[in-house]
């Protein structure tokens, strides 16, 4: 129990019992379910030398999958930022009949299983679907093409943006906007120069969350993507294909590369966000 004694209450002593067993159980459970399995992944990838890793990762099919996944995720997250802001604005600033329903609907993508979203979005966006049919006469393919991948990623990412922007907009001091108005700024200028900068850190967090979710997304994307190698094949699918071929090492290398890339991107976004936050406080 020495490991736990090191972690004993720091700020003040408490008379409450059960700290050691509760924390011990928590750490044991976390180790068994999360830490040990994840370290198996890292070790598997680490068994390979750098040259082999590079050979796996520089394969044109792998490169194409990475490019597609990251570009589509970024586009989807950007679209979600724009419309997530609109929906958050609608929910916070306006009162209308059915607002509660709209508010609840925003969480639907969290609740709807990804496989269900996948099959229904592909039926909806296919050439003979309700929405896909509107675009088909113009020769625009949505399902089984890159736009379909973006559509699925928009679906899974939307709640992240709305739910990060909404509380910030809720707490935003109206006096700031009023001050801008008294100084002669019109509504649009006030929005651009006062409101938007204040919301920027939250929008960026929303972008990062939606982006990260889109990169890892599997269920909703594979049904609508068409999954043509090198063209509409996403990284998680490539991992599954490697696993089905029993190429566990290849799968592990791609998985670790995907985890690392999104981790680095998230750290960069985090840094940018701190900058923005600091600029706002001045």
């Amino acid at each position: 129990m020495t490991a736990i004694q090191v972690l004993l209450p720091r700020r003040r002593r408490t008379v409450l019992p059960g700290f050691a067993p509760a924390l011990g159980f928590t750490l044991l459970y976390l180790s068994l379910i999360v830490l040990i399995p994840l370290s198996a992944l890292i070790l598997k990838a680490a068994q390979l030398d750098a040259a082999t890793m590079w050979q796996i990762l520089s394969n044109p099919r792998v490169v194409a999958a990475f490019r597609l996944t990251f570009v589509a995720s970024a586009i989807a997250a950007a679209i979600n930022c724009a419309f997530g802001l609109v929906i958050a604005w609608l929910l916070v600033r306006y009162r209308f009949w059915g607002r509660r329903l709209v508010d609840a609907l925003v969480d639907l993508p969290f609740a709807l299983p990804t496989a269900v979203a996948g099959v229904s979005l592909s039926a909806l966006m296919a050439q003979n679907g309700w929405v896909g049919g509107l675009f088909a006469p113009f020769g625009i393919e949505i399902a089984y093409a890159p736009p379909g991948i973006v559509v699925a990623m928009i679906f899974v990412g939307l709640p992240f943006v709305v739910r990060t922007v909404q509380p910030v907009l809720q707490d935003f001091e109206p006096e700031l906007e009023e001050a801008a108005a008294t100084l002669g700024a019109d509504r649009w200028l006030t929005f651009l120069k006062v409101t938007l900068p204040a919301l920027a850190p939250a929008l960026l967090t929303g972008f990062a969350l939606a982006f990260a979710r889109a990169i890892g997304e599997y269920g909703s994307v594979i049904f609508i993507a068409g999954n043509r190698p090198g063209l509409t094949e996403i990284v998680p699918l490539l991992i599954v294909i490697k696993l089905e071929e029993f190429d566990y090492r290849g799968a592990a290398v791609i998985a670790v590369a995907a985890l690392l890339t999104s981790f680095i991107l998230l750290v960069l976004i985090n840094l940018l966000q701190r900058r923005l936050g600091a600029a706002n406080r001045v």
């Binding site: 992944l41 929906i87 600033r93 609840a104 990804t114 599954v240 799968a251």
Partner: protein
Amino acid sequence: MSEVRRDRPALRDPHWARWAIFVGGIGFLILFVVLPVVTVGAEALRKGLPAYLAALSESDTQAAIRMTLTVAAIAVPLNCIFGVAAAWALGKFEFRGKAAVLSLIDLPFSISPVISGMVFLLLFGLQGWFGPWLREHHLKIVFALPGLVLATMFVTLPFVARELIPLMQEQGTEEEEAARMLGAGGWRIFFSITLPNIKWALLYGVLLCNARAMGEFGAVSVVSGHIRGLTNTLPLQVDILYNEYNMVAAFATASLLAGLALVTLIAKSFLEWRYADQLALTRR
């Protein structure tokens, strides 16, 4: 439609902007959120109610329903116990390294479901660390129920803990300390003081955990091996039927999951509306 702060004319958006925001926001939600759900129902009932019911009573689909319920019945209570224990340790006590434990709990949320399933394949698959040992002892983890449960536990681990930790932190320890002073033991304190204080938040966490456990696709897809009637959960059954171009059956199966999502959403909204003060303020 009106503005919230009518008393603040400076905050009033121009008429056209209000309508643009309303139409844009609602339109986007209808297109990306409402229509997909409507599509599930429409496609499932395309050939009428008898075909829908026939598809649901298929033995493979019935087996998938049982499998989904079994997996959730094991994974959700375990993660619930974990969530409460973690919340007790992290919500009621201060210690070094707390932030690290918190981010470890959040970790499964930021890992692709495919990778979440794959890690168990690397541990327990035939080529995995424990693969040869398991084979010698005729134990099956991946491509069997234990693998499905483990993968589901991995992806749903944070739900209950994330809901309870901020709430218990917010509620502090005064009531529990008072009970302690009056001579109550640990379990007594938990069951008579803490549990009544967190019961709605616990239910909220269990609700979300269960929805994800029953609906998880990527992680279980990797560890299931897709053995019909044996290791197929409902989302995997949707996948199989869809790939066989059996659309009515695929969407009929999907409609069960969509129904579960809608019920979860209604229950969740009800809890948020009725017990807002007893749920954690920090909502994702």
